[in-house]
Symmetry: C2
Subunit: 235 residues, 2 copies
């Protein structure tokens, strides 16, 4: 946690209130904070500030802003990823948010177990986003959308994300050409499930305007592929 | 698991033996394998083969090789990383091995809790390596070394890893220049602990031949930084 992210309502008074158990625990145990220490605080979907700690009580810590700070820019990328196993979902969302992905679309795919859509973890996406933002020092919540049917997503939604200077790249182990690197325009990146997209799905993606590229001869886990690919595409 | 990695002794007979509980469980539950199916099998520190399943018994599965397959090449990189928290260690080693890192050095650093060196997880590095190799389809075990003292490592070991066409890059948030990308030579990359290297450590690294570069204004978790950085450096 490199900033503390607060809801706007907690910053409505002159003294801002930090009162979530998770944040209080981190500030006490990891940072051992004291009155008059400075602390980086962000307002969800708002600005980021350097603040000073003015009061430490059992149930809350209060801070006052000293000066505004710059938020890191987002990457101009839409990440489209086949719904992962529940235990991977948390890390995938956190890391994508930390890395600055602007929009995330979770989609169904033939090799996605239907039970994944029932996971209670999907109710906790906001928490995972907060963790990712606090790690990155960012305040702006990315847009996350769920598409439980693959074909309607690819045929009706995906084409609207594609333009001449906004291509969509599918990471596909059997493509003949290597993924581009150091691009200087926005894009969408599409990552399949464990076991990969089936040929029908790859064909449908290409028919609807996507370009398939390989990422080398090593098969990466979904969450590893996301960071690896973002490091490669945006320099 | 994209190949099954076997010990050389299990491939000494005409029929090779798969008998680890983890591998058997995966082959039955995830792949639902049957006699006469083909299966990718690697021999630890040896070659990789397409095999045929010839017998399925309760305690073992036996295969015979059909033809040799290519192993993916390693990345010409030494990853030097401050010893992470135990629960991060597993993923860090797995992902680094999957991505093809040739050598990994775990070092101490001021902000590394001394208790991290006592974790029983350090006895399981071989298991994490196996998981990383099986994910990548690789068979060659990377070299992993532990350095429990930072200064002797930086002064006595690190200089021997550096050469004109084999630089060492420190990922440092406060460096003025951005990390290079798409390099065409070997290198070492150095990643600090949670909270970063202290100024004394960064100075010592630079004094001993390292170059410090930033990775943008977002602060990444160690394991995210590794995949992101490898994607950026090697294309």
């Amino acid at each position: 946690m490199n900033i503390v992210l607060l809801e706007p309502k907690d910053t409505a008074q002159a003294e801002w209130r930090i009162h979530s158990a998770r944040q209080l625990s981190h500030l006490h145990k990891q940072l051992n904070i004291q009155v008059d220490d400075t602390l980086k605080v962000g307002i969800r979907n708002g600005k980021r500030y350097l603040t000073r700690i003015v009061a430490i009580e059992e149930q809350e810590i209060r801070v006052t802003p000293i000066q505004q700070e710059a938020c890191p820019a987002k990457l101009p990328v839409t990440l489209i990823v086949a719904m992962p196993r529940p235990k991977v979902l948390r890390r995938l969302i956190m890391d994508s948010v930390t890395l600055g992905v602007e929009r995330i679309c979770l989609t169904h795919s033939y090799r996605v177990d239907k039970s994944y859509w029932q996971t209670p973890f999907l109710q906790q996406l906001d928490d995972y986003i907060t963790l990712g933002l606090e790690q990155a020092g960012d305040t702006i919540v990315p847009d996350i959308q769920l598409y439980k049917r693959f074909k309607p997503f690819v045929e009706d939604v995906l084409p609207s994300l594609i333009a001449p200077l906004r291509p969509a790249f599918v990471a596909h182990p059997y493509a003949e050409t290597a993924m581009p690197h150091a691009i200087e325009h926005p894009c969408s990146i599409i990552i399949g499930p464990e076991g990969g997209f089936i040929p029908y799905e790859v064909d449908l993606l290409i028919k609807n305007g996507c370009q398939a590229y390989h990422l080398g001869s090593r098969i990466l886990r979904t969450e590893t592929a996301v960071s690896y690919l973002l490091g490669r595409l945006f320099v």
